[in-house]
Assembly symmetry: C2
Amino acid sequence: MTATYLLVLTCILQILSYADSGFVSFEEARNAVIQAEDLLITGGRIHLNDKEDRANDIFMRYKMDELGAGFYDSDVNAASLHFFKGKKLVEKSKVLKFLKRMPKGAILHLHNTASVSSEWMVRNISYMPGMLRCTNIFGVSILSFRRTARDHGCVTQYVRVSDERVRSVNPAAYDRSFEKLINLYTPTPEIDYPTIKHVWNKFQNMFSTINDVLRYLPAFRAYTWRMLEEMYEDNVMYAEVRMDFKELYDYSGRLFSPERSLREVLSIVEDFRRAHPNFMGIKAIFSTHRNVERTRVFENFEMFKSLHKDNPNFVIGFDLVGQEDRGKPLHNFVAELAELPRSAKFFFHAGETNWYGASTDFNLLDALLLNTTRIGHGFALMKHPLLWNAVKKRNVAIEVSPLSNQILHLVADLRNHPGSFYISQDLPMVICNDDPGFWGTKGLSYDFYYAIMSLAPNHMGLKTLKGLVWNSIRFSVLTAREREYAFATLERAWDQFISDVLQGIV
Amino acid sequence: MTATYLLVLTCILQILSYADSGFVSFEEARNAVIQAEDLLITGGRIHLNDKEDRANDIFMRYKMDELGAGFYDSDVNAASLHFFKGKKLVEKSKVLKFLKRMPKGAILHLHNTASVSSEWMVRNISYMPGMLRCTNIFGVSILSFRRTARDHGCVTQYVRVSDERVRSVNPAAYDRSFEKLINLYTPTPEIDYPTIKHVWNKFQNMFSTINDVLRYLPAFRAYTWRMLEEMYEDNVMYAEVRMDFKELYDYSGRLFSPERSLREVLSIVEDFRRAHPNFMGIKAIFSTHRNVERTRVFENFEMFKSLHKDNPNFVIGFDLVGQEDRGKPLHNFVAELAELPRSAKFFFHAGETNWYGASTDFNLLDALLLNTTRIGHGFALMKHPLLWNAVKKRNVAIEVSPLSNQILHLVADLRNHPGSFYISQDLPMVICNDDPGFWGTKGLSYDFYYAIMSLAPNHMGLKTLKGLVWNSIRFSVLTAREREYAFATLERAWDQFISDVLQGIV
C-alpha cells in the first residue's frame, strides 16, 4: 500500500515535470502512470497464479470480442445500451456465461419482495389455487389470496386468476400479460419510461401488486425457498437481505405475527442449507418504508428493536427504503436512530439520486454521521469530496447495483456510472442486484456483467472480478468465525471454477 | 486556501469520529461538513458584495422555482431532460434570460465552422446568390458556391438553392427543411439517434454539408462577422476559436491562400472591434482533423508552424479535432508534436468518450505529458485519479461543453456530467459551447444554463457563476497586459449587470 502510494506520487511528479525536464523518456513516463493507475484499481494489486492467469486470458478474449464489436457498431454495444435494449446480446454473451459459473460470494443489497424472477413467479405462484386479482383506484392490479378489499384499496370485484386464465383466448398469452404486472421489461424503455417518474410509478406499483401475495404463508414459503435457490444456482453463497417481516396469513384467514414470519424464514433457510451444504444462508436487514406516516415508522423501529434483540445475529441491522427523492430524509429520524441499540448496524440507502445538494444526497452525510456500516447505492457520493474520502478511510462499502440504477433512470449508459470512479481508486464497493425479479434477471451475474463490461476499464478482467467478489465477503457483517469459513469455502469454489474454465467446462 | 484545507481535514476527522466520540453535536458536525464542502466548490470562496448578494437572491428564486417544478414533475425538469426535449422550457426560462444578460467572459472551446446559428445561416447564407446543392454518394447534401464535383464527391447534378426554393410549394417550408441540413435538432432524439453512431454520423455530415460554403469569400466574411456578433450579443467578450484556415475561393474561381484567409479574419475582427469597443476579439487555435491520412496531418503541422511563426499572438496553438474514438490517438504524433516550436501551446481534445481504458482516454495522459495548456472536453478524466490530480495541481483547465456532450451522446441526464465532480472540488474548468450552430443555440448562455442548473449543486448561484466566468479569462492565453485589460473590462460589465439586475432591467 505504501509502496503503491509512493509510486503514485512519483508518477504525479513525472506528469508534472516531464515536459520541462525530460528526465525520463515520454514512453517511460507514460508507462509509469499507466502502471500506477492499474495498481490503484479495484483488484489491481491482486496477484493471479498461473492457472488464474490462463483463465483470465480466456475471459479477456470473451470480453474484448464483445467490446470490440460494440466499439465498431454502437448498436450492438451491450456495455452501453439500456439492458432492455441489449438483453438479447447479454443473454447470448460468453462473458455472462463465464460470470454465471463464477463464484460471486455474497449479495449485500437485495429487497426480498423483488428478489425472485418474474418468470418463476408466473409459473408457480400465479398457479397456486386461490389467487385473486382486483384493481385499485389507480388502475393497478392487486394480487392476493384473501378478500380484504379495504386493505387492498380495490374498487373492483375480485376475480380468480385461474378463472381469468381459463377464460382467456390463450393461457400462454395470459401468462405473458400477467408477468408484465411484476416486471418492468419493455423493448422500448425510452418511450415507455421517458423520465424517472414514469418508471418509479410502475416500479412502486409492482410492489403494491405483489405485496399481499407474499404474505400468504404457502406463497411466502415457496417464494423464500426460491429466492435462496436463485442465489445458489447463480453461485452466490450468502446474502444480507432487506426484509420487513410483515404479518402472514393463511387460507383460513389466520394471521401470523412478525416473530412467526421470522421463524419461518429461519426454518426455510435451515432446510435449504441442509440440502445445499456450501450455502451459508442469509441474514436480514430490517427495512421500513421511509414514505409512510411517522407513527408507522416508529412502530417499525420498535418492531425492529424487538426482533433484533431476540435474533441479534440474524436481524443484523436497519434501513429505510423507498424512493429517497420522494421520501423522508434520514435527518428526520436522527434522534430516534441514534437511540437504537448499539449492536444494531445501519445499512442506509443514501444518495440514490441525480440531484446534487438536495435532501437525498444529504442522506449520504447523515448516514455517515450515523456511522452506517454500508451505503445503499451511494450514486451521488462522487459529488461530495469529503464524503467519498471518509468512505475510503473508514471502509464503508458502497452497495452498487448497476442494473437498478439504469432501469430506475439514474444513468443511461452504464459506462457513466460512478462505479467507474469507485473502481479507479478502489473505493470500498460491492456489486449488488437490488430487485432482480422486477427486471427479469436472476442472481448477481447480470450486474457483474455491467460491472466488468461498463464500469471497469477495458483491460481489467479476473483481477477486478476477484477483488469485487472478495469484497462481498469482506464487507459483509458475518462474524469472524463465519467469515473465516466463508473465505475458505470461497477459495475452494474459486479454485474449482478456475479449473473448470481451463478444462473448457465453462 | 490553507485555512480551507485545514477545515476540510478537521471535518473528515469529525465524520470519522463523530459517532464514537460524540465530541460535537450531530448538527454541529453536519453543518461543519456542509460548510467545508461549500467552500471547496467552484466559486465557493468568492465573497459577494451586498449588491451581488441581492442579485443572487433574485437569481436563486428563478433557479429554485424551476428546479422545484422539475422535482415534482420530472417531465418539466429541464435540468435533466435532453435539450431537444426541454428546449421550450429552457427558452422561456428566467434563469436563461438572466444568463443571457450576464457577462460571460470568454469562450475557450468553439469550432468556427459550427459556431453560427443555423437560423441565421438559412436567412442569410442560403439566400446568397449562387448557392448550389448536390448530393454525395452517402446521400448527404453538399452546399457550395462552385462546381467542383470531384472535391464534393457528388453523384448528382448541382441545383441552385434559389431555384429549389422558388419551385417549392412553400419557401418557408423549404427553409425549414434546409435548416435541418445543418442542425441536429429533432423533437425525438431518443428515436432518431438511438446510439452514438447515429448522431455522430449526422454531425460529421453537417460539416461536409457546410464546409465548402464557408470557403466562399463573401460567405466567409459574413459568417465570421456573424460569429463575432453572436458572441457579442450573448455578452461574451473574447474567444479562442479552433479553426483551420483552408484556402478560400470567390465567384470567379480565384483561390486565396491560408495566409490570406488568416488576414481576412484579422481584418474582420479589427473592424468588428472598432464597432464594438468592449469586445476583445479572438485568437485562433489551429486545428487539423485527426482522422485523415498521416501525410495530410503533417502538411497541416507545417502550415501551422508557418502561420504561428508569422502571427504568434494570434495563432496561439494547435489541436487535433474529430471524433476521438474513431480517429488517430495523440500517441501517434508524439514525436512530431514534441518538435513544434515551444511558443506554440497545445489545446488537445482528450477523453471525449465513454470508454475507459481505450485510446481515447489515453489521449488524456498523452495530452498532459505533452504539457497541454487546456483539455478539450476531458469527459473521461474522472476515471483517472492520477490525471485529475495532475490537472488540479498544474491548473490545466478542462473545457466543458455540456450541451455538446449530451447531444453527441456521452451523457443523457446532464446531472450525471463529470462537470459536477469538477465543480465539487473546484477543478480548473471553463464552460464552452463547442458547436452551438449545429444545435440551434447562440453564444454561451445555454451551456451556462446547464452548468448552473444541472452540474452545480442546487443551492449554488452567483458565486459559482462568477467563478466560472472569471475562470474563462484566467485560463485563456491572453498576454499579461491583455488579461489585465480583460479583467478590468469584465469587472465593469459585471457591476453594470448587477445594477441592471437590481433595477429589474434583466
